[in-house]
Symmetry: C2
Subunit: 242 residues, 2 copies
């Protein structure tokens, strides 16, 4: 049977994976994905065949994975976090009609919004939005509009891809938009290298977040009007005590 698993690995550490993800990798003849993620899997599967394409060649990676599955091999295409959140599930499903006979199974994983939130406390304890600040595939005006709408709706926010070489001031511009709706002291936080060496968390007010230099391995959290710092934790109450 021609089978392609699209597997979310969760945060960097192997124990962040689900048992289902582990079983899909076990069952696969071939592992493919971005090189850094395959490197994480190498110690677990030293003898399995692997292939990789560079970060900008996602479509080629998807096509090659589908090609190999069509040849009758069981293939696992891996992503960090969840396969469906800015991951490989969408592009594979867009290509799938050209690959008759290939069965695709998506194995969900813990996306950085969840794994990062768990390290900070519970910043996403009530309604929230997930927004990528990358304008590589999305016009910056769309991103700005979404930030305004999310702020107006008083959502807690998880921001992905808060920086890049091409545009280092993305997070600053996002904070400026949010500051039009939220108090400067709104509790925020960020997490770097979740589940990896150099893991780092910080809680700080929105006005200070504006000045922080982040990298592409950072996930940023912005509180809603109800988010508070309680002890060492960032918490958005669900309302049980209200």
């Amino acid at each position: 049977m021609a089978k392609l698993y699209i597997v979310g690995l969760g945060p960097g550490k192997p124990e962040g994976m689900t048992l289902e993800a582990r079983a899909a990798l076990d069952a696969s003849d071939l592992l493919c994905g971005y090189g850094a993620y395959l490197a994480l899997l190498a110690p677990l599967y030293p003898d399995k065949e692997r292939f990789s394409t560079p970060m900008t060649q996602e479509l080629e990676r998807c096509r090659r994975a589908l090609d190999e599955a069509r040849r009758g091999r069981t293939v696992a295409l891996v992503c960090s976090g969840d396969a469906g959140v800015y991951g490989m599930a969408s592009p594979v499903l867009e290509l799938l009609p050209d690959y008759g006979g290939v069965e695709v199974e998506i194995v969900a994983g813990v996306t950085a919004a969840l794994s990062g939130a768990a390290l900070l406390g519970a910043p996403l304890g009530h309604d929230f939005c997930v927004i990528s600040l990358s304008d590589l595939l999305t016009p910056w005006e769309v991103i700005e509009k979404r930030l305004r709408c999310a702020a107006e709706g008083d959502f807690a926010l998880a921001l992905y891809n808060p920086s890049s070489r091409r545009r280092a001031d993305r997070l600053q511009r996002a904070c400026d938009i949010l500051l039009g709706f939220r108090a400067p002291e709104t509790p925020c936080g960020f997490v770097r290298n979740i589940g990896r060496e150099g893991e780092e968390t910080r809680i700080l007010p929105l006005i200070a977040l504006r000045e922080v230099e982040v990298d592409m391995f950072t996930t940023v959290f912005v509180g809603s009007s109800t988010t508070r710092v309680i002890g060492e934790h960032l918490v958005t109450p669900r309302g049980y005590r209200a």
Copy 2:
């Protein structure tokens, strides 16, 4: 050491759990949570002590878990999905300042937005919002405003708690708000009993979603303006092909 794990179990099936969640349960002397979730764990841990409180007594459950941890026991408080998304992490962290010496560790899990999306395809492949339609702890006007803002921002949506005995027309009212911003044919979907017996998925247009009877075990997905039905899947492209 006084330790309390707050563990997200992921969707209903045991293999949806992370290896980290499993290790936290292994390490615990006492498992606590809502009865239905403890019942799922009983076959895995037949000999571990367990306690439960009814669904409306979440705060009592948190306090008891904290009390037991303060007595020096290792306790796992379990939630379905993720502990931080409408889960027990927030209320425990709100209570924690009264329980000096208790160390809390939150173990993230796969929330229904992710596990449900994986069954439908990739409806959350681009920016998205998660909104609970439960007005038990949130005024309905706040929920309506968030729905309007999410629709205006063209987010894909995952809707939790789309129905209850108290208010059966929640989803219909939500769809009416969304129809003010989105085309009636906007692709949507829902998933029932994720990872459990009776698992069921359906893809349908927004105008038809309005007429569907859902229950509290259903998670609903509403597409953005770019979401499409491709083959049997609901897909929000990230834009790789654009």
